[in-house]
Amino acid sequence: MGEDGLYAALVARGMSRRTFLQFSSAMAAALAMPLAYGPRIAAAVEAAPRIPVIWLRGQACGGNSEALLRVGNPTTANLLLQVLAVDYDESLMGAAGADAELVRTSAMERYPNGYLAVIEGAVPKAAGGAMCLIGGRPFADVAREVCDGAIATIALGSCAFDGGAPGANGGTTEAEGIRSVSGNSPVIALPGCPANAENLAALIVHYATFKELPPTDLAGRPLFGYGELIHNKCERRPHFEFGEFALSWGDEGAQKGWCLYKLGCKGPETMGNCPTARYGGGVSWNIRAGHGCIGCFMPNFWDGYAPAYRRLGSPVPFMPTLTVDQVGLLAVGGIAGVAVAHGTGMASRSKYRARKARRAVQLAAAADGTPAGSVAAAEGDTAAGDVALAVGIPLAIPDDADTRETSGEG
């Protein structure tokens, strides 16, 4: 167990062996692993060296840097001081100007086994990249270089994932996700607006533990955080089953915590672990607080899930006359049936398909190395691709060495 290891770091802060094992079990839970993995996490974390990180910010609002500040387990300070070696992060680093540039370029050279690139924000392509400049150079160029030397690239938040808000319909900066410049660096994406700090922590701990990235779906999102419909774990779900809905804001249903589906909640089609990960150290999450989900863990959500207050289409399109109330009462088929039905419903709506085509191409590029079938789905049959994304069934989890195998180098 190294002096500068993660375990030493946690102990230095006064964490007892018992608490440490509890932490490891909690992490196993966060990563959707059997609790039996707790000891393995504990063992691996004890020996883990600090992970070098270069954190770049493109067209961003800073919300994902803020997410880093919300990490509670291990704490942000421990992450920054002991778990990670964050050489370059514009929002935190002491150095400025040319000195900052030097820190970045020398960091890229000093870690022979590579580093993690964490990217926040979109990559604007308009005007030759002039709409986001770092040290006078287009962000696209800087990011390309940094990702090129990275063991892996974490696309943190929706902007780095697929362009996010600046890349939404109406945007004029040709904002794209980091995959448009990350080349061969394997990308793991934590979309969300912003990403949940708990998932960022879990991803880092997973990497520290297993020296590899966790399994992902076709869009590159880790299954531990994006593998299940929000609807399935939602605390308001029983009210959906019983046909109990809030019908207007602040009404009796809203006060009784009933289902927000009819007020436009996108939980029935959104893959995410918000109901279990929650925010603020577990105090609450969007739907619990009273406002519907806006689908921010999903690709192209600003357009694909707008308007925010329009209720989703009938979840069972092949029975168009069936009302949601009936579905709620009839959903004896169980959670899986409804999940698949919701996913199909999403694919059946062609309204945003054209807009999504651009994203699909991007995803296809990202999924480079996946079996031909899924690439074809992304390029041609967008609907099928969407089903895969919506339902989170990894049509094909790429097993390509370039994409998966990052172990042994960290």
Partner: protein, 590 residues
């Protein structure tokens, strides 16, 4: 004369470049250049006015929820809707939490590295540091053991040849004046502030369901509904001060107690750590109450409504000061705003002298520099930030502007903590227009707001107890009730300054949207008459001891805590729909 260029300016949100000319050891001219553009207003165009706050919120993730609030308010004014008492107080609680937390974190995370040579802290004697800490305030972590542990945690990072977070630029610079013990104490508090702010922001998770970007605003009020039948008295007494997944409903009695507790903790840190640290810093750097004052023009839109009236009295008052004259307070009205793009990368068909009112602003991107960006074209365009002016004058906005406007109006909530801080440091109000004045203004305002937030929780509890459980006015929720044309605006205050949104609704959709943020004012480039923006102005005459290590320039820029992400926006021409952006890049990289 030497021309220095700092790019990127770090420890702020967004991309910023600052160029200065240094002549005879002092800044003789300065240029502030925002180097990032997102154009979120264009994305907002054509959407449902009831949901644009979700996108507007993404203008800034650091002062998250500030723009969400500004957006719902602008639409509410356009649709003529008044929100219920509960919603007003809940919004105040979200906004005040954001202000307090941001002021503290700005100081410890973004500004402190300019004043504390972090590596000096490793030479500190923990016992002497603990004694120093206890002499300043009663604070539990001021013990030799805990300070020794801080040294042990920082050492590996600070001794690395690439120190990252918590380090200082240019360690060993002669401008650092703090003793090793003072340095260690401040850094220990900086680490503590990281844990503290996560606790404080649980208020946003609790009331907003998500953080950053809380998600319970609605046009007309809040989506956060009280429990059915109103808050029941809690079953067990005691403070639920460890929030977890069994956290109570935020508007139950136990939830309100938790809120109260979290706000109490926020205030305790401000009063017993932040303010004492500010006194220490001011005592150590007396010169910096004379440097970086700027033009003396200050603008505050005011914020934090005290009543449910349409134009309510505000806890943070509105007003405008010109040429540093604190005796004459002028009105602040959204009509006074106009923007120049003479030195920004946008075209203007009305000629370079045009000052466009936000309601009919345009954006026609006209990037005309060579990439990679070398020397700034200081005679031409050099920034993605436009230059807002009030009656043609540049205006500083932010905590200093608000504190001075409140001081000029004799508002006790501000004058009392301000007076206490000034007395303790042996200074008068004339020291406030300065670099350290901006830092002091944050501490004063944080104390004033934390104190008031505490009583808002009590007011919320009292109001709910009367049986008033309304959180939203839905009289205009149905688009069918809207007029064909509706225009609105909102003015308010974020951590970094005066925020205003303008909205036009046509045919039930957003036809025109415009934002002028506090950082747009502060980061503004020159206007057509060559008048500098506030940061450019404040940099003038700043001493620079070593042009290869311009620490002093960073101190001035960071004192504003500017946010280039907030500052840069697009306008869309009324009724023209999403428009083509014309690029005049003389050399595109690809």
């Amino acid at each position: 004369m030497t021309r220095l260029s700092i790019d990127p300016v770090t420890r702020l949100n967004g991309q910023l470049r600052v160029d200065v000319d240094v002549t005879a050891g002092a800044v003789s001219d300065a240029w502030s250049a925002g180097t990032m553009f997102r154009g979120l207003e264009n994305v907002i165009h054509g959407r449902d006015p009831r949901e644009v706050w979700l996108l507007a919120s993404r203008i800034c993730g650091t002062c998250s929820s500030v723009h969400a609030l500004a957006s719902v308010r602008a639409v509410e004014r356009a649709l003529n809707v008044r929100i219920p008492t509960n919603a007003r107080i809940l919004r105040n609680l979200l906004a005040s939490t954001q202000l307090v937390r941001d002021h503290v974190l700005t100081f410890y995370q973004a500004q402190l590295p300019d004043w504390v040579d972090a590596s000096a802290s490793l030479r500190a004697d923990p016992v002497a540091t603990a004694t120093l800490g206890r002499s300043m305030a009663d604070w539990p972590s001021s013990t030799a053991d805990s300070l020794r542990a801080v040294q042990a945690r920082l050492a590996p990072v600070l001794e690395s040849d690439q120190p990252g977070p918590f380090s200082s630029p240019w360690s060993g610079h002669p401008g650092f004046a703090l003793s090793p013990e003072q340095s260690l104490l401040l850094l220990a508090h900086a680490l503590e502030a990281l844990d503290w702010q996560r606790d404080v922001m649980r208020i946003h998770a609790l009331l907003g369901g998500k953080d950053p970007h809380p998600q319970t605003y609605l046009v007309g009020g809040m989506a956060l509904a009280p429990p059915w039948g109103g808050p029941a008295p809690s079953q067990q007494r005691g403070h639920p001060d460890v929030p977890d997944r069994n956290a109570p409903h935020p508007l139950s009695d136990a939830g309100l107690t938790m809120l109260d507790d979290l706000i109490g903790r926020a205030g305790a840190f401000v009063n017993r750590v932040f303010l004492p640290d500010m006194r220490l810093l001011v005592a150590a750097y007396p010169d910096w109450t004379q440097i970086g004052g700027g033009s003396g023009n200050y603008l505050s839109w005011g914020d934090l409504a005290e009543t449910d009236e349409r134009e309510p009295p505000l806890y943070l008052p509105a007003g405008r000061l010109v040429n540093g004259n604190l005796a004459s307070i002028k009105a602040a009205d959204q009509d006074g705003v106009g923007e120049s793009v003479a030195h920004a990368w946008y075209a203007e068909d009305r000629g370079p002298a045009a000052l466009r009112a936000p309601v009919d602003g345009i954006t026609d991107a006209a990037f005309d520099a060579v990439l990679p960006l070398g020397a700034l074209d200081t005679e031409g365009r050099y920034s993605w930030v436009k230059a807002p002016r009030y009656d043609g004058e540049p205006m500083e906005t932010g905590p200093l502007a608000r504190v001075l406007v409140a001081y000029a109006q004799g508002r006790d909530a501000i004058t009392s903590p301000l007076g206490a801080l000034l007395t303790a440091t042996g200074l008068g109000a004339e020291a406030m227009p300065s670099v350290l004045g901006r830092l002091m203004a944050r501490a004063v305002e944080a104390a004033a707001i934390a104190k008031r937030a505490d009583s808002w929780v009590w007011e919320l509890r009292t109001n709910l107890a009367t049986g008033d459980v309304a959180v939203v006015d839905l009289s205009t929720w149905d688009p069918g009730s809207w007029p064909d044309e509706a225009d609105g605006w909102s003015t308010g205050e974020g951590p970094r300054g005066a925020v205003a949104h303008w909205v036009s609704i046509r045919d039930k959709a957003i036809d025109h949207y415009q934002v002028v943020d506090g950082s747009t004012w502060n980061l503004s480039p020159r206007d057509t008459f060559g008048r500098r923006g506030p940061i450019e102005d404040a940099l003038l005459r700043t001493p620079v001891a070593d042009p290869t290590r311009p620490l002093e320039v960073l101190r001035v820029v960071h004192s504003f805590n500017p946010c280039p992400a907030c500052a840069v926006h697009a306008f869309d021409p009324r009724g023209a729909g999403p428009f083509d952006i014309r690029i005049h890049a003389t050399e595109a990289s690809r």
